[in-house]
Symmetry: C2
Subunit: 299 residues, 2 copies
């Protein structure tokens, strides 16, 4: 990744973010009754880096994927991410009051509505990838939904959150910490990449290389997250800083120190770039740039 | 529906319930980590009438549907139902401690684990209908998932729950009460019927007749539920009796009295039978019997 391409990447990123924002605004139903639609839109719109949608769109671009399928998959992944944040912020979980610089959904709409909004967002994620207008080939839609269901469920994101709950106060070693994050945040980030690739044609070695790229992105994202939790303030993060340390949660920083964690993040991102090069995809520039973006992010 | 067929129906019902129980036990992953799998299995196994799976299986039978698809759809619908109960019982919702005669999931496993178990069960419902072994035609799998996502989401079950939350203490009239229940419980019951029909071939008039049958079943189920809430005790119901009245929630009994509600349930069930007759399906005996079963249930 050459720094000279950053202006180009920045323009691409903003264009894609706007497309995702517009699509989410169109597809997240304000017409769900009794205020539920409002809570769902509040949870999803006007915030977030949209890293997962960007990974879907960049991977789709790299394999020449179907644009309509890629946009729907990008939004679906973001809805799963958004619902997980709504539930994760609830008092019985992390009990957080600030998210993306705004009061969390349960603070704004009450716990019951937050619970329902999260539930409805998960259902909507699948519905989005199953339009009945014939715009997505059924086999592609089925594959996308299968990957998303696995990444979100008990052997994916939800399973990782369960491990996280059970780990507070425990002295996890690095393999255990990585196993937790591979599920908790890694599964959905990796699925973003493989789902994007599923909107086009990719041979088995390319798919395998993209899986490794996705796994490295997932791990690097979490290491950087742990670094930011101790180095950034709440205003920059848009969420409560220092909460992992306060909750006595094991992190990459508590395990390997700040410098060690930064070096580790760099090494893992190097592996992401290497996997991409091995994929021999001709249009992988934005996937390379997204790896750097994950490494350089400040919130 | 002739009473003479009841022994036959009873045997069919038990056989199907056993098949569903065995399939759920096989498919609800005990291997989700950190106790999550245990909480998921606790929420799903050894309880419940399995009315929704029975509707799926009877509708599939009536149209000569694919057995593997029908069993997967039956279990998927039950997982959505089970997750909704887990979340609905939580302190921020109905705050219920007893379900199917056992402590509710959040009482047994804690609120955080209950929240995650519900989330993971919803994802698993979709995953179940998307096996990657080619046993379900992709177009059928996509159609099943689409129907389930719509029935579960903001314009279906979750939307109905939001209306329910907003209705406590309000004097809903009958159309408003029915509109709420059409979403809250009706959408999933109706989807059970239409999903079963989607595992085979049914022409448009048959599908429409089955939709009306499903809608009537959904409405009758709720009217009977309201009747049982005031006539049955907690031990028989396996959940807390009288809680709707205690919560000052509008019900069909509060609106039309006990006798009026019973007469209404009978009339709606008559409409279910009439819709079935109009469907001209040759093998609709078990769908007829399920309508009567809904009307006669004691818990």
């Amino acid at each position: 990744m050459n720094d000279l391409s950053w202006p180009t990447f920045g323009a691409w990123r903003e264009r894609q973010q706007q497309a995702v924002e517009a699509a989410l605004s169109r597809w997240v139903c304000a017409d769900a009754p009794a205020g539920l639609g409002d809570a769902m839109r509040y949870a999803v719109l006007d915030g977030g880096k949209r890293l997962r949608p960007l990974l879907v769109l960049a991977a789709a671009e790299a394999v020449g994927g179907l644009p309509e399928a890629a946009l729907r998959a990008a939004c679906a992944v973001e809805l799963i991410h958004a619902y997980s944040l709504v539930h994760d912020d609830m008092p019985c979980m992390d009990n957080d009051v600030l998210r993306r610089g705004k009061p969390t959904v349960h603070v704004r709409y009450g716990q019951a509505q937050a619970l329902l909004a999260g539930d409805a967002l998960q259902a909507l994620a699948f519905e989005l990838m199953l339009p009945d207008d014939g715009s997505l080939p059924p086999a592609m839609a089925a594959s996308l939904c299968r990957q998303l269901a696995r990444a979100a469920g008990g052997q994916g994101m939800a399973g990782g959150q369960a491990i996280d709950l059970a780990s507070v106060g425990l002295a996890l070693d690095q393999p255990a910490l990585e196993a937790m994050h591979r599920l908790k945040t890694g599964a959905l980030l990796q699925a973003s990449v493989t789902m994007g690739a599923s909107t086009g044609l990719a041979d088995a070695p390319t798919q395998e290389a993209l899986r490794r790229y996705g796994a490295s992105i997932g791990l690097a994202f979490q290491v950087v997250d742990d670094i930011l939790d101790v180095t950034a303030d709440s205003a920059t993060l848009g969420k409560t800083a220092g909460k992992d340390a306060a909750a006595d949660k094991p992190t990459f920083v508590s395990l390997m120190g700040l410098d060690g964690a930064q070096a580790y993040a760099d090494r893992v991102l190097g592996e992401a770039h290497a996997a991409l090069r091995e994929s021999r995809l001709p249009q992988a520039d934005h996937l390379h740039a997204l790896a750097d973006w994950v490494g350089r992010r400040t919130h």
